[in-house]
Symmetry: C2
Subunit: 96 residues, 2 copies
């Protein structure tokens, strides 16, 4: 009846991040923090979880002497997002 929802994505912040990343080539930590309105600590934790799940790739470097964290969604991440979207529709488009 109800397909299980990927617990990695069924989280407000992680879903926000993935939702942003699917439509963008790459995104910086600070941009994600601003767009999601999250705290840096929470974002840091959730980005690592997404990376552990293989849904995003995190590239760390320096720019203008400051640390720079860039994130990109992976193919696996896109697939997982699409599956999540399809699944949650079962919950929100209730049958008449």
């Amino acid at each position: 009846m109800f397909a299980p929802l990927d617990p990695v994505l069924h989280s407000q912040l992680r879903l926000s991040v993935v939702s942003l990343l699917v439509s963008v080539r790459a995104a910086e930590f600070t941009w994600l923090r601003e767009k999601t309105g999250s705290t840096a600590g929470n974002l840091s934790v959730q980005l690592n979880k997404l990376a552990e799940a293989g849904y995003i790739e995190i590239k760390k470097s320096f720019r203008d002497n400051y640390p720079l964290t860039e994130c990109k969604i992976t193919k696996k991440g896109i697939k997982a997002f699409e599956a999540y979207v399809n699944n949650i529709k079962q919950y929100i488009h209730q049958k008449k």
Copy 2:
């Protein structure tokens, strides 16, 4: 950018229950357990949370000598569900 998701509804089981209840006059505990595939314990807890939030009404009685728990969604619950549906669409229908 991303509207916050009602934490009462952003739970797989509670969302399943409310999704079922919006399209039905009333539902019995056992029917909800079967439809959602949840355990009785988990369902019991989550139904009480929905009731505490004022999203459903729980009526307890007896039928054929057995306890009978019936659930109905409230107007508040319908409104909350509709708001949740609208909000999560922002997450899953990413802008191009």
